[in-house]
């Protein structure tokens, strides 16, 4: 037990825990004032039920010894974290906590695609099931020695997917789930006609900033030590993010004539998403490139929903799926071995890495799409997933939570 490593893991886990309320603020600010509470409650609800799900069996499924050929970890290996606790080992214990914060934020991310219209109880059930049936196994595949790791049946020790902090497990996974739910629940009244503008842009900006702050725990904490890799991840995280702000604002300036604050905040998130898998696999120059293009790609992608007619309300697909994919694939192109595992295509490493990245992304997309659809359909046809149009127009906060976000003085 190294006290410096534990100190950094304690800090990192705290930082990542903070990301979910930061997301609540980011998403909440983007909502309309009649539905901000419901939006934030989807994050808080995810904290509650995914937290419990993780302590119950999620941690075991994620990091327990592989079963069924690497499809999942042993669910009973750490029931109620009992095994971790009695081990008395600080690094093991805080690692389970760190893992919980990842499961929580991944689920919370999904909620952005179904703003203003999901039943809160249905969301809680979805969160619980998705955390156990989708997040936990996929994290086992990539990080727990499962089917998408070098120990799995697809890859080998030379060529295997690199996902430092969650490009596949977190962002592609959540992005696909968001897309499926947006399709399943359908568009909001007025979609494509009214702009549904953010009701509080300072909230959006501060939410994005707190996400950035927490993301240092997410990325640099994924070194599981206060070491050179952690430092490298910190530097790349910052490099990609500052570049992504520029990329997003540049597109806006050229296309619309104006650089918006919503664009700056969205650029922050796009950059962070894209560098997540690549945090140590590329050098700072590569991080700048990944960042600026993440800003460009995602700023162009958020308009697609109007074209294809899916109401991904707060752009989970445009930001998390698109930049998550970009960052994952980019490693195959410009990965280097200073801290990374293999060289990418442009650095003379050949197609092996690129292939591994694409396969990992593809498997994640396929599984997430199918599993989310099954869970979503089950909920839709039993308890129902969506509130009535009347409630939606009047504001979901009042009907689902009995509250209005703001009160005037009297």
């Amino acid at each position: 037990m190294d006290s410096g490593n534990i100190a950094w893991l304690l800090t990192s886990a705290s930082l990542v825990l903070l990301m979910t309320p930061a997301l609540a603020l980011f998403y909440g600010g983007m909502s309309r004032s009649k539905s901000v509470l419901n939006m934030m409650m989807m994050s808080f609800g995810a904290m509650a039920v995914v937290g419990v799900a993780w302590i119950f069996v999620g941690n075991g499924i994620s990091v327990g010894e592989s079963m069924a050929g690497g499809l999942f970890g042993n669910p009973t290996s750490d029931l109620f974290l009992n095994a971790s606790w009695v081990s008395g080992d600080g690094e093991a214990l805080i690692s389970t906590g760190f893992g919980a914060t990842f499961a929580i934020i991944t689920v919370a991310l999904i909620s952005g695609s179904i703003a203003d219209r999901a039943k809160f109880s249905a969301w809680l059930v979805f969160s619980f099931l998705w955390a156990i049936l989708v997040y936990s196994p996929v994290s086992h595949w990539v990080w727990g020695g499962g089917i998408l790791s070098d120990a799995g049946p697809i890859f080998n020790e030379d060529w295997f997917p690199q996902d430092f902090a969650g490009g596949t497990v977190v962002h592609i996974n959540a992005g696909v789930a968001g897309l499926v739910l947006a399709l399943l629940l359908g568009v909001r009244k007025g979609f494509g006609k009214e702009p549904f503008k953010p009701h509080n842009l300072p909230f959006v900006m501060i939410g994005a900033a707190l996400l950035w702050f927490g993301w240092f725990g997410f990325n640099a904490g994924s070194a599981f030590a206060a070491d050179d890799s952690a430092a490298a991840a910190w530097v790349n995280t910052t490099a990609a993010t500052v570049a992504a702000i520029l990329g997003w604002l540049l597109v806006e300036k050229i296309r619309d004539g104006k650089a918006t604050s919503l664009g700056a905040a969205s650029g922050v998130v796009a950059g962070l998403v894209a560098i997540t898998p690549a945090a140590v696999a590329v050098d700072p120059w590569g991080a700048l490139v990944i960042g600026v293009l993440a800003g460009v790609f995602s700023s162009l992608a958020v308009g697609l929903k109007y074209k294809f007619g899916y109401d991904d309300s707060l752009d989970v697909v445009g930001v998390h799926l698109v930049s998550g994919l970009w960052g994952t694939v980019a490693i195959g192109l410009i990965g280097t071995t200073t801290f990374g595992a293999w060289d990418g295509l442009f650095l003379g490493g050949g197609f092996g890495g690129l292939w591994a990245q694409i396969v990992a992304a593809g498997v994640t997309i396929a599984y997430s799409a199918v599993a989310t659809l099954i869970i979503g359909l089950a909920i839709k046809h039993t308890m129902g997933f969506r509130v009535s149009e009347e409630i939606e127009v009047a504001g979901i906060d009042l009907a689902e939570h009995g509250e209005t976000a703001y009160e005037e003085a009297k």
Partner: protein
């Protein structure tokens, strides 16, 4: 008595208040409004899509006056609020049957 209602540009409120006070008005009620007319709104950008916000913020002033003062107060408002640009607003006058001061229960001109 008359009620003079003015819809003006928010940034002319101070000038108008000074002008009506100079014209002998002792009290004013102010509220927020928005409107459009010949003046169309502005363009905002959202997620790459432009759209028009056509309601422009305005301020409403309501002033109770004696019959004889309505014209004078109207002119005072018009000249103080005028910038010459589209959207400067409207002033209108409606007849009032009665006014009461809540504090004292007085009625009519005494209540102004």
């Amino acid at each position: 008595m008359k009620l003079v209602t003015a819809i003006i540009q928010p940034h002319r409120v101070d000038e108008v208040r000074a002008a009506v006070e100079a014209a002998g008005v002792k009290g004013v009620t102010v509220s927020e409004a928005a409107g459009y007319g010949r003046q169309k709104g502005h363009t905002e950008v959202y997620r790459g899509a432009e759209y028009t916000v056509d309601l422009v913020p305005k301020t409403r002033l309501e002033i109770l006056v004696e019959d004889a003062d309505a014209a004078v107060v109207t002119e005072a408002i018009v000249s103080a609020a005028q910038t010459g640009k589209i959207g400067d607003g409207k002033v209108w006058t409606v007849p009032v049957d009665d006014v009461a001061r809540v504090r004292t229960g007085e009625h009519g001109a005494d209540a102004l």
